[in-house]
Symmetry: C2
Amino acid sequence: MTNFDHLFSSYAIRLNSPTFNRPVDLSNKLKIISFAGGLPDPSVFPVNEIAEISQLVLQTNKTKSLQYSQSEGALSLRENLQVFMKEDGVSINADQLMITTSSKQGLDILSRLFINPNDIVFTEKTTYTGAIQVFKSYAAEICGVPMDGDGIDTEQLERMIKKYVQQRRSIKFIYIIPDFQNPTGITLSLERRKRIIQIAERYNLILIEDSPYRQLRYEGVSQPSLIELDSDRVISINSFSKILAPGFRIGWIAGPKHLIKKAILAKRLIDICAPPLNQCILSEFLKRGSLQSHLKKLISGYKIKRDLMLECLAKDLRCIEGVNWARPHGGMYIWLVLPNFISCKHMLQEATQQGISYIPGNKFDPKETSFNAMRLCFSMQQTDQIVEGITILSKIIKSNIVRNVI
Amino acid sequence: MTNFDHLFSSYAIRLNSPTFNRPVDLSNKLKIISFAGGLPDPSVFPVNEIAEISQLVLQTNKTKSLQYSQSEGALSLRENLQVFMKEDGVSINADQLMITTSSKQGLDILSRLFINPNDIVFTEKTTYTGAIQVFKSYAAEICGVPMDGDGIDTEQLERMIKKYVQQRRSIKFIYIIPDFQNPTGITLSLERRKRIIQIAERYNLILIEDSPYRQLRYEGVSQPSLIELDSDRVISINSFSKILAPGFRIGWIAGPKHLIKKAILAKRLIDICAPPLNQCILSEFLKRGSLQSHLKKLISGYKIKRDLMLECLAKDLRCIEGVNWARPHGGMYIWLVLPNFISCKHMLQEATQQGISYIPGNKFDPKETSFNAMRLCFSMQQTDQIVEGITILSKIIKSNIVRNVI
């Protein structure tokens, strides 16, 4: 085997770090009950309508669906997304939107446009693993800010920014998941939303809002999105993956026109355009109002699963010292915190041997600690599996606590 | 408008260069006859079969087509591509293949993995504009090597490599379009293919083969691909865009297993996976052997267009001093060279005013000169437009030559 290690770029060399290890493939373990991946429930994909629409767009507009398209995305899809965002209180023009090939690509493009090695980016103390990996792939230094039940602690955020400003470090953006945060399930309060915008303004930083779960609310009242509150500074990353299906790999970013213009220049170099066929299908799906009716179904199904998982956890783990979890008002995750002497990373081996998987907390922590917590995804499994899985997992947790306490 | 220029990365700042300007949008000029974009003919897209297959894969396997997939790509598609490559003489395993979201993404990922700012990469003297832009976006120094009718001049290539080695510059790879090269239409001879591999071995460089037109041969005998000749060193970039339809945005790279493994790590950070729906459709299309029968149709149609364009050029421009073009044995382009006092870049304005467009030679030249040539794409326009377009274009060319000679 010829060795090419000497030819690798700094980027490629960084990928040698365990931070970027591929997740363990459990797909051959057929009997596993996975609470790990943030996967939507495939049993509710509206497959008949998607199949019908595919036929329609191919037959009625083969050039639009099968030829190259503009890098910013098909105008029809952008216009339908404008309407979709307008219903959520966000008024923007079509030229403030760019269609991305998945929201992950949105993250990658924004990281490319802003991060030089050693730049500082701020996130919540625990955040989306994918975002941590992307920022680290560009050699950013990630600063995780503590959270409470109202979301990121804005006082600490400002204190930390001040510290880096004094050190003359280059700070680029604040990355926030305001709604049903991944992994904690927490929703950022309105007061904090306003405060975080003030802070971004004061230090002239970009604010990146990543909100793939926003439409999946099971109780309570929606807070205005950050981009609704400040469309001059906020770039919002959005996706069809959680609210419809990941198989399209289509998302979109919205933000100030001159930043979107720059993103379009980059996108042309990356994959020319998001798949036109997929854009045509989604544009028609939106135009018919089918996304709204699909969301209703999703919400009622996921709410049942969330309630069931909360009930199972309460039944098995209530009143155990050091064990707690919050009730997420939406999204797909419950963040289960265990006594600080438990390592969910180590416990995972035992869990998978018993047919259960989850993601240990350290994966969501830029510092790669937070071992005594785990993220449980309730959207993917069916109700029987939730009951069975939480029962087994709770036994494992209790026996680990007992073993450690003794 | 809030200004964020101070927050841009070096990458984003590089995109300010005119090199990355977006192409002029001529789509609102309905009457234009475009020989510019390298677009396949949409009238021959096998839309009925694609629509039928879309239905089938969605109905029979909704999870596989609409859920997330592995970053390396669906195994079924990789296995069908293995067979497809085997028919072309290339024996590789499925783990030497990664599905990309367009071949452009293949280029971007390979550039990321190998290029640090100021690294040297070698290309043919004129080459794919998109490749030039991607390499420059990573701040590579591109060294274009002269060509003749047999392709890149390997003696000059080695001389130039030696020069950079003596200067202790960091050289990463040689990027070659061996079949019906973009823009010149030239095919690399077998002798040169072997020679270029020897050179890459001698200096321990990666060899990147980009061959989107390889299957579109209208005469002569196919030469072995570079990856057939050396699967330990060559990474081949492939695409469905020219041989089926760009609307899927699906391509693949093939190469040494340990390099593909690295590319998969990067791909997971970029868009997680290529669109599963599109992968499922293409896998079924390949499995049925439909790509081979579609290629037969494409080849017979494009051959007629190539012959017609060559005939029109001969009728109008034969025997004019300084005007020449070669007969491409395949692909989609004719490279028309004009007397060196003509700037095809300046002439383009006059041409578009008269309803014709093409791409001026400077766009294919890393040094951004080569003004006295243009690329004419013959695949997209119908036969009537080819006749009309070349007639008008030839008049413009002749009047420009006369004006300059007088």
